[in-house]
Symmetry: C2
Subunit: 173 residues, 2 copies
């Protein structure tokens, strides 16, 4: 989905995220039953100083859609600081701030803002690492959440593989 | 991009927005030169009680990318109230609330939250109408903005046409 434009230098250090990733994860939280899920994540760019981001998960049994989210990851060049703005269909928008170091990204919500009928989420942290391997690359992430009166704690973790450009294009159709 | 799933009843009254729309608009603001732009907007669904939304604009002379945004439009069935959560690559996230009536949507930002390095936008309003015509349908919108110390005022207006499903699929490739 990325354009022909060269990657903007302010996000060059985020190039390790580009592409479409697919795999499986697991969700836990005190208020719900643990659940496994399938997931697809895409990062793409158009030559400007940010990466576009979209994500969706589905139930592994019947493939019904679960969560999805979309947003933009803003780089600032020289420094390692990044900002990630994300909208959730559950009526939540987040401003996350954090840093990137090699192939690791660590972020924490600076502001979580809720639509009038949204679930009460108060804080999120995200940790992402990309590890090259013989078959390409693996993306692992962990997400912690404070919500509905519960303290910040592990909520989601997943392991995704980068699809080949051909496989990613076929998924888009 | 919509799934095979039936449209959720809570967003049935928003069905007039579904599809991919393309056309041209014009931007004005006291701090910038007036500018014409090309624009593509998509609304799609996956059977859950929201529409997914993405938008991008480009310069009409050289097709360089200008703005883009992504988010989710949440319906609540019976009532006319809707919530729209939107992330902007300029480091802004919005919670908009408003109402839908027939083929009109009127929204106002309830909260605008800024990443540390974002431009100072304080308030937005959006007005959208879809008018069926002999060639299909036209979507017109107006967006007003209060930003960088200026009062809320007209910023963007555009007129877009719905693409045929075949034309929209070709654009995705």
């Amino acid at each position: 989905m990325s354009s022909e434009a060269p990657l903007h230098p302010d996000v060059a250090h985020l190039a390790f995220l580009l592409g479409t990733w697919e795999g499986e994860g697991r969700g836990d939280y005190p208020t719900i039953e643990p659940f496994p899920y399938g997931e697809a994540v895409s990062f793409w760019h158009n030559g400007k100083p940010f990466l576009s981001y979209s994500q969706l998960t589905w139930h592994l049994d019947d493939h019904r859609p679960l969560h999805s989210e979309m947003g933009f990851l803003r780089g600032h060049g020289k420094g390692e600081q990044v900002e990630w703005v994300i909208a959730h269909p559950s009526g939540i928008v987040e401003i996350e701030v954090g840093w990137v170091k090699e192939r690791n990204l660590e972020l924490e919500s600076k502001r979580v803002t809720l639509a009038p009928t949204a679930k009460q989420v108060t804080r999120l942290t995200r940790s992402i690492e990309v590890v090259p391997d013989m078959r390409g690359a693996v993306l692992r992430y962990q997400l912690s959440m404070a919500a509905v009166g519960q303290a910040l704690q592990q909520h989601l973790s997943a392991e995704l593989r980068r699809l080949s450009p051909e496989a990613a294009a076929a998924k888009d159709r």
